[in-house]
């Protein structure tokens, strides 16, 4: 794909976090603050698919907001391709957990939006939007409104509307958590396929589903319970292309799962304020 100056060229850029901290003023008390994430530093090379897992409230979503420029970090720096992030960038894509498609626009109109915002002529925008809808298998539903589509279809439109402008960094905040498990697996496979076809940009994928994380990523970052800190950094060496149903059956998968879960379990319990049960025999 030829690089375009007003959008990412889709091939991905590196992402760095440098001691990023995010604080929110407490809603009840003016003086105390809630620290969502603390001193997070990490480096992600271009084209890597990274999942971030952790218990609820560990700052996963906060991290994405900070990187995207929607809610800049309280402290520290975010760099994309070496450039400091100061606001919303045209080479970043974000797929939200809940539906963010504009309900008053059809599927096609939703996908076109980013191109129209960039000043592309209407016919060209329409053409590329149709291409992408076809890629996610929804060309027949181009003129439907979001409420006329199922949850999985809406997610696919969301993916198309984000990838259509070929962002270098793709942020995804538990995108499939609201879907039923079968649709989720299909969507996971679809996403990997589209990601591969589109030239493998850099992906930061937040989820609390460890299976999903291992199945999809090259690397997994584990965050602690609030205030979120980096607890673990795991390389996932499973070969690509992957099928999410098949890959779960392999031995390597199970080993990875066991290893990462050990880290994660403690944090999940801490977040839920439970004690780790003593080992049998003690």
């Amino acid at each position: 794909m030829t690089p375009r100056s007003d959008a990412g060229n889709g091939a991905g850029r590196s992402l760095e976090l440098d001691r990023v901290t995010q604080r929110y003023p407490s809603s009840t008390n003016d003086t105390t603050e809630f620290v969502a994430m603390q001193d997070i530093s990490l480096e992600i090379p271009a084209g890597q698919f990274v999942s971030v897992v952790g218990p609820t409230g560990c700052g996963k979503s906060t991290m994405l907001s900070a990187i995207s420029g929607l809610r800049p970090a309280s402290d520290g720096q975010v760099r994309i391709g070496g450039e400091v992030v100061t606001g919303i960038r045209s080479d970043v894509g974000f797929i939200f957990q809940q539906d963010a498609l504009l309900p008053w626009r059809t599927a096609l109109q939703n996908v076109e939006l980013s191109l129209r915002f960039r000043g592309r002529p209407k016919s060209e925008s329409r053409e590329r939007a149709r291409e992408w809808l076809a890629r996610v298998g929804l060309l027949d539903f181009a003129d439907r409104y979001p409420h006329q589509l199922s949850g999985g279809m809406r997610k696919r439109v969301a993916v198309a509307s984000t990838l259509v402008y070929e962002p270098d960094i793709l942020l995804m905040d538990e995108p499939f958590s609201a879907l039923d498990i079968q649709t989720r697996t299909l969507m996971e496979n679809d996403l990997l396929h589209v990601w591969d076809e589109a030239g493998k940009n850099t992906v930061l994928f937040v989820t609390h589903d460890l299976e999903e994380a291992i199945g999809m990523s090259d690397r997994i970052l584990v965050l602690t319970a609030s205030p979120g800190r980096l607890l673990g950094d795991y390389k996932i060496d499973l070969p690509r292309p992957r099928d999410l149903l098949e890959v779960k059956m392999t031995e390597e998968f199970t080993e990875l799962y066991r290893a990462i879960w050990k880290d994660l379990e403690g944090e999940v319990l801490a977040a839920n304020k439970l004690r780790i049960p003593d080992a049998v025999g003690n």
Binding site: S68, I88, S90, A100, P103, L113, S114
Partner: protein
């Protein structure tokens, strides 16, 4: 399909029964005949009115319509503009809203005499009165609409690269259009009523004036006839607005 015809027939039967009972009640002087008249008299009056026997007929209706429409347009434009302005500037909103709420609490219909005193009795003046009701309806509709826009849609279009202009066009405008159109129906029903009312209070033309002179001469047929004509106009325009509303709400879940 059959069920719909059944329902329609049932309604028709009820309507006919209503007129029959009314006719008998009026004729038999069950209630004071002066109060309720009979359908026969009312329809005869309407016939006379439309052929211009008594008054100028249609010009009265046109007067009332003018007041209602002008007031409706003025009130809507002012209400929408104020809502956009106040919702857009946070400080302004916090300062001004208590006053707006207080003003809204005043029974505006009762302010009609004040308008007559202040402005007089021309068509324009009555339109001002009508607009004073409509402005609150359209203001609150748009203001609440703007305030209730989900943050998520704004975040989404921002990430997609929308400038302020695009955000207004793709999020703010569509979001409030639905609210606005619904309020248009409400505004319309108040417009016509307010126009008739202020004419009733003090006017020598318009449907409200006809009602008032009918009341003065204890002529039930006139009063009821004039009100019926108003009601028919109101329903017809409302039916049109319903169609507009339906188009605008295409995208909403059923």
């Amino acid at each position: 399909m059959r069920k719909r015809w059944l329902n329609r027939s049932a309604t028709l039967v009820l309507v006919v029964a209503f007129f029959v009972v009314w006719q008998y009640a009026g004729q038999a002087n069950v209630a004071n005949k002066l109060t309720i008249g009979t359908p026969a008299e009312v329809f005869r009056w309407i016939g006379d009115w439309s052929s211009g026997t008594y008054t100028d007929g249609w010009s009265d209706l046109w007067t009332t319509l003018q007041e209602a429409l002008l007031g409706y347009l003025l009130g809507t434009v002012v209400g929408v503009s104020l809502a956009v302005l106040i919702a857009g500037v946070d400080v302004l909103a916090r300062l001004v809203m208590p006053f707006v709420a207080a003003a809204n609490a005043v029974p505006k219909i009762a302010m009609a005499p004040l308008f007559v005193l202040a402005f007089g009795t021309t068509v324009a003046c009555k339109a001002y009165f009508v607009s004073s009701l409509v402005v609150f309806i359209s203001f609150f509709a748009v203001f609440n609409g703007l305030r209730s826009i989900n943050r998520r849609y704004l975040d989404h279009v921002q990430i997609l690269g929308a400038s302020r202009w695009w955000t207004v066009r793709e999020v703010y405008v569509p979001a409030i259009v639905g609210w606005l159109i619904t309020s248009l129906r409400l505004s319309w029903s108040w417009s016509l009523a307010a126009a008739v009312f202020v004419e009733y209070l003090s006017s020598n033309e318009g449907m409200g004036h006809i009602v008032q002179s009918g009341q003065e001469s204890l002529d039930a047929a006139t009063v009821i006839g004039a009100l019926m004509i108003i009601a028919v106009v109101a329903v017809c325009v409302d039916a049109g607005l319903v169609l507009v509303e339906r188009r605008a709400k295409e995208w909403r879940p059923a």
